[in-house]
Structure formats: C-alpha cells, structure tokens
C-alpha cells in the first residue's frame, strides 16, 4: 500500500479497539433498549397483537389491529378486569410483515416484554409459527383471523379460535349455494374455482372440489394464482372460454378486487360470483367499486345486523373514518374472549386463563353465533353466513334466521 493511500485509509478506518468498543456499546444499548421481563404487575394485563400491518396484507392487518385496540379501549373504559382490581388491558403491538419467522420472533420479543396473552395473526402460516412459539411458554393465544384447521387441530392447549376454520366454512358454502340454486330453480350447473396459492386458498379449493359435486355442481376447472398477482386478464379469458354459471374466487383482498374488476371489464357473463372467505368482500370494496361489487355473493364471517350492539359499533367505526370489515369485529371479539377469560380466572396465571378459555360460554354479541363452546380450541358455536352486495350495502341472505334480504340469484343480465 502506498504511503498516501495508507494515510487515507488511516483517516477513514476504524481501529479494532474502537470497533469492539462500539459493538459492545451497541449491544449494551440494544440489551437495555429491549424490554425486560415484567409480567402483569397488577395494574395491567398485557396482550400482544401480532398482525401484518406492513406488506401486501397491510390493510387487513391494520383493520385487525384497530379492532383489537377498539376492544381494549372499550373494556378499559368499562372498568378493565374487575376481578383483578380493575387491571387495565394494555396492547403490545407487533408487525409480522406477513412472514412466519417474523411472527414467531414477535412472540419471543413480547414474551420478554411480559405479555400475558396474544391475539393474531390474520395469516394461517404466521399463526402456525406464532402459536407454536407461544406454546413453549404456555401463553394463551386467541386466533382472531386464520382459517387453517390445523391452527387448532394439532394438540396445542394454549390456542383458541372463536371463528370457524375453512373446513366448516367450505361445507356451509357448498350447502348454502346448493339451497340458493335450488330455490331459484337450479339455473346454475357449472363452477370455476379461482384461488390463491397458499394454504387458505389451496385448502379451501380442494374441499370445494369434493363438496360442490355433492350439491349437483360440475367443477369445470380450478385455477390457482400466485400472491401477489396484479393482472387477471389471462385468467379472465380462461373463465370466459369455459362459460361457467358460477365463478368462485378464494383469495386475499388485493387479488379478490382485481379479479372482480377484470371480470367486469371483460364483460364476462355468469349467474353469480360466489366467493368463499373472499378477502376483499367488504364495505371498502363496495364503496370503491359499487358497480363491480353489486350482486356478488360471499360466504364469510359477518356481523349480526339484527344486533343493536353490532349496529352501534358499526356506526362508531364508520364515524372514526374506518371501514367496518370482518377483521375489525373478529379482532374485537378475540380481545373480548381473552378479557372474559382473565375476568373469570381472576389472575394472569397461564393455566388458569387457559382453563377459563376452555370453559368459555361468552355471548358473541356482534356476531350471528351462539355462546362460545370450545372443543380442542375451536369454538363450535360459530358459523359463517352467505352475504350479498345489494344496492351499495351488504345483506345476509343465508341462513334465513339472520337474513336481511332475499338472494338475487342468478344476477340480472348486464
């Protein structure tokens, strides 16, 4: 090395001592900065919220977070956990970034922060990793949204889910479609399923392939697409060439809306768009694209429009400038479920809270469910409903005890 360059490098380089000192300081700062162990201190009960608030599921993730925080605020305003001397619920926020490893890392971080229970994770893949991580510490985990049946079917005692998984929802969807079709004189005979590629889409589509023929439908094709997919022209052309009576989308919000819009733009004619757990079927979609959404049917979690509490909550959410999507009220109920367990357990002892969750008989208030009854972590009192976009709003069309409108099936020709 020349003298000149050696001098230059000496000016810009860092000595090993300085490097070690700096690294140690950084490590120390990091250690001090990260949360230390401090379980519920009698004044608060910490609930870890893990959702994809950044990334391609950010809208849904933020809706979930909003719903959880709304519930926490309501519960705290009503006196917190009364059996624990009015201990307040405290949210510890986490972002899974839609990645399983980050979701599991958030559990580790929150465990160190003294979290007493979790609510999350919107995606099944993240939920699978996060619940397994929480199981190591026996921390209660309430799945607010996550449709994989394996989330609750693998023997983890700490995991509970209030809403249905895709197994039962797929069955309800097929049966409901069969009944709606029969009531209309059986105009629909063929179905094309379009689904996203992860467990939610693939698993639900696989079930629909078995269930739809039992209801008299012929599944012409099952079309899988990647996440994210930003152009549905080719898929729309394939659908057009097959001329199905029913198109059945099973995908996440962005793809759901794009597919619906492409089908409309290409003027593809069919009797109904009948989605199962359609990620994008919500008030935002209906508000943004009313012409596209009109007459579309979805089978999904939905609030009970006959419930006074639910209507009041919808008003509050909309007054807050938010959309009253299913993420909001499922997340809201997830926190209510945990709060009820803490209330009955009277402590934050993990075993006591898990036992309280197992024996939960909570009135779901805003949902068209019966009281909660958990079997292997799954609430057997829950049920999905068939909903349809009608005149710029959403109506339940099946089952009849919660229905606010009759189904428009087949939809009017353009």
């Amino acid at each position: 090395m020349s003298k000149k360059s050696h001098e230059r490098s000496n000016r810009t380089s860092v000595s090993r001592r300085r490097f070690v000192a700096g690294a140690s300081a950084l490590a120390a700062a990091g250690s001090l900065g990260f949360p230390h162990v401090a379980r519920a201190d009698g004044h608060s009960v910490k609930i870890g919220l893990i959702h994809p608030v950044t990334g391609f599921l950010a809208f849904a993730g933020n809706q979930c977070r909003y719903g959880c925080q709304l519930a926490i605020n309501d519960i705290n305003a009503a006196g917190g956990v009364k059996s624990m001397g009015g201990a307040k619920l405290e949210a510890v926020l986490g972002d899974s970034q839609a990645k399983p490893q980050i979701g599991a890392a958030e559990v580790e971080k929150m465990n160190e922060a003294g979290v007493n229970a979790f609510s999350g994770c919107y995606q099944s893949s993240v939920g699978l990793a996060a619940t397994a991580a929480a199981a190591k510490y026996n921390l209660p985990f309430s799945i607010d949204i996550g449709v994989s049946d394996r989330l609750v079917g693998r023997g983890l005692k700490n995991v509970f889910r209030m809403a249905d998984g895709y197994g039962r929802i797929a069955n309800d969807a097929a049966v409901n479609l069969g009944r709606i079709n029969k009531a209309a004189g059986s105009p629909a005979k063929t179905v094309v399923v379009v689904h996203e590629e992860s467990e939610y889409g693939s698993g639900t589509a696989k079930l629909m392939q078995e269930l739809l023929p039992q209801q008299g439908f012929d599944v012409l094709e099952t079309i899988k697409h990647a996440n994210p997919t930003r152009n549905f022209d080719n898929i729309a052309l394939r659908i057009k060439s097959m001329k199905p009576d029913v198109v059945m989308p099973i995908n996440y919000p962005g793809e759901y809306v794009l597919l619906a819009r492409t089908l409309k733009q290409q003027r593809i004619d069919f009797a109904a768009s009948y989605s199962v757990l359609g990620g994008g079927f919500n008030f935002k979609f209906i508000n943004d694209l009313p012409d596209v959404a009109e007459y579309m049917i979805d089978v999904n979690h939905w609030y009970n429009p006959k419930s006074e509490v639910a209507r009041e909550m919808r008003g509050r959410v909309e007054a807050d400038g938010k959309f009253f999507t299913f993420e909001v009220y499922l997340a809201y109920n997830s926190i209510r479920l945990l709060h009820d367990a803490f209330e009955r357990a009277g402590s934050t002892d993990n075993d006591a809270v898990i036992a309280a969750l197992e024996s939960s008989t909570l009135d779901p208030l805003i949902m068209p469910y019966g009281p909660t009854k958990f079997v292997n972590g799954q609430n057997t009192g829950s049920r999905a409903v068939s909903i349809q976009a009608l005149k710029g709003d959403v109506d339940i069309i099946y089952p009849t005890e919660f229905a606010t409108a009759k189904p428009v099936f087949p939809r009017p020709r353009a």
Partner: protein, 320 residues
C-alpha cells in the same frame, strides 16, 4: 493469519459460545439465532456470488429443496431430522449440480445466469405447488415434538447453538477458499473467466463445485428453518424474499470476504430489530431500514468489511 487476529477470533467464538449463559433475554437469543442463520445462508450465496462471481437471484431453490427434503422424510417416513439434514445437504448439492450444469454448460454468465436461477426458483415453486407429496399449496406442517433427534428445542439456546455451528462451518469453508488453490481459481474466474481459462483453469468444473457447495449449504439451511418454524409452503420455501436476503447480507457486509455475510447479517438484522422496536408507526421502520440500506450500499461499495480492509498491517497483508 496473525496471532493477534487468531486470538481475537477465538475470543469472539468463546463469547458466542457463552452468550446464552450471559443473556437472560430469550428474545435476544432468538434474534442472535436469526442473525447467525441469515449469515450462514448469506455465506452459501457468497461462495457462488462473492468468490466465483456467479450472481444468483434464485439461491432460495437450494434452501427450499433442503427444507422439503427433510420435512418430507420426517413427516412421511418418520426419518429424524439429523438424517434429514444430511439428505437435504445432498439434495441441495444435487439441485446445484442440476442448475449449474444446465446454466454453465451453455455458457450463461452475468445477468443471464442471475435470471436463469430466478427462473429455476419459480419453477420449483410451481412444482411444489402442484404435486401431492409436497402438500401442494397447503404445505407441510411439522409436529412440535421438542428433542435433539427432531432438532426442535423449547429453549431458544438450542437453535442458537445449531445456528452458531452452521455459521462457524460456513466461515471455515470461506476461510479455506481464501487460502486454497480452488479459491484462487474461483477468484480468477470472477475477475476474468476467459483469462482464467486461458491460464488453464477449468472454469466449468470450478463453477460446478462452487454451486454444489453453495447448494449443499442452502439445503442444510432449509432443514434448520423447517425444524425451527415447523411449517413450510411453496412461497416460504421458494419465495424470492429469501434469495434477496441471502445476497443482501453478503453485499452489505462485503462480497467475496470471509466475514462479509456475518457482518452484513449483524448490521441488517440489528438495524431491522432496532427500527421495529422503536418505531411503532406501521411501515416507518421499513422506510428507515431502507434509507440505512441505501446509505450503506451507496457509500460503501465494498461493503462494511471494506471499512476495515484499509487498516490491515503489512504483515497481515502478507499473511493474507
């Protein structure tokens, strides 16, 4: 290598070995595990991209193949994860040989090679999505049964030590490359492949060895991921994000250097964790992370390791 340098590295290794005893915070142990794991994957990319100069955008294909190999062996045939890891090593090397043969045999270099590796990763993703034995789009769920045979641990320190061992092995491989004739061949190929061939270097064979070593390491990394997170599906196994992370830690740390991927991993993960911890506004932490990344890449073209290279003493330089 100077005695002082060896002592420094030995001290670092001892510190790494006793870290779980010194750090009570399990989250920090988990973060260190992810850093070491990322460094290991980065090193697997570095051998092919950094030393041999063959930029791959699809190195995740080795990782995914390894993850699927051991997971299928475990869940379908009940073969424990250690044997699964060895199978994953060979599967990764085999995929490396397959991709390498088809690419190098037909003279694909530079951006063409990068794109073909990306395409291979996508093809494997589609295949994993389509066939039954991988679980299709549903993926493979691995049962949680903690134990050494299953490579599953309730204590994060278990994963930490496995990740540390993998990282030390990967550093040893890179160190060997720095000093071996084979490593010199790879560097010659990186600098000017035609000139290297003119001097008698069998470029095709050397690149094949490099991609097979890289593939073998990626395969073992896949097993580690599957056993730690207990679930894989095609987007996780063959998603482009892992490929990007592999090359990013190497580029930020310093390509073609022994410690580049480790330094890059420490900095990138450290910055990521700190920004995520202190910035709660959704997305803002990613923006800050991105800005720091731009600054590092913009002002340190030789990576962070480049900061220290200039101060090597003449004796160190001679040793090297």
């Amino acid at each position: 290598m100077a005695v002082r340098t060896l002592l420094f590295l030995a001290a670092l290794l001892v510190l790494a070995l006793i870290a779980p005893l010194l750090i009570a915070n399990r989250f920090l142990i988990d973060v260190l595990t992810l850093i070491l794991f990322s460094a290991f994957l980065g090193q697997s990319w570095n051998i092919l991209g950094g030393y041999a100069g063959q930029f791959s955008f699809g190195s995740v294909v080795f990782f995914g193949t390894g993850a699927y190999t051991s997971s299928i062996l475990l869940m379908t045939f009940g073969i424990d994860a250690w044997i699964g890891a060895i199978a994953a090593l060979f599967a990764g090397a085999a995929v490396g040989a397959f991709v390498g043969f088809l690419s190098f045999r037909y003279g694909l270099r530079g951006s063409y090679f990068a794109l073909i590796t990306l395409a291979f990763a996508e093809v494997f993703k589609v295949l994993a999505n389509s066939v039954e034995f991988t679980g299709g789009g549903i993926g493979i769920f691995i049962e949680h049964e903690p134990g050494l045979a299953r490579l599953q641990f309730d204590d994060p320190a278990g994963y930490y030590y496995i990740a540390l061992a993998l990282t030390v092995v990967s550093l040893a491989i890179a160190w060997w490359l720095e000093r071996s004739r084979f490593g010199a061949y790879l560097k010659a190929i990186r600098e000017n492949e035609d000139a290297a061939e003119a001097l008698g270097v069998n470029a095709f064979r050397c690149k094949m060895y490099a991609i097979m070593i890289s593939g073998a390491m990626g395969g073992v990394g896949g097993t580690f991921y599957a056993q730690k997170f207990l679930y894989i599906d095609p987007p996780i196994a063959y998603g482009v994000a892992t490929s990007v992370e592999m090359l990013l830690v190497s580029i930020v740390g310093g390509m073609g250097t022994v410690f580049g991927p480790l330094v890059g991993s420490f900095v990138l993960h450290g910055v990521n964790e700190v920004t995520r911890h202190y910035i709660q506004t959704p997305g803002l932490s990613l923006i800050v992370y991105g800005l720091i990344l731009i600054a590092i890449i913009g002002y340190l073209p030789n990576g962070l390791i480049g900061l220290f290279k200039g101060r090597a003493r003449p004796k160190d330089a001679e040793d090297a």
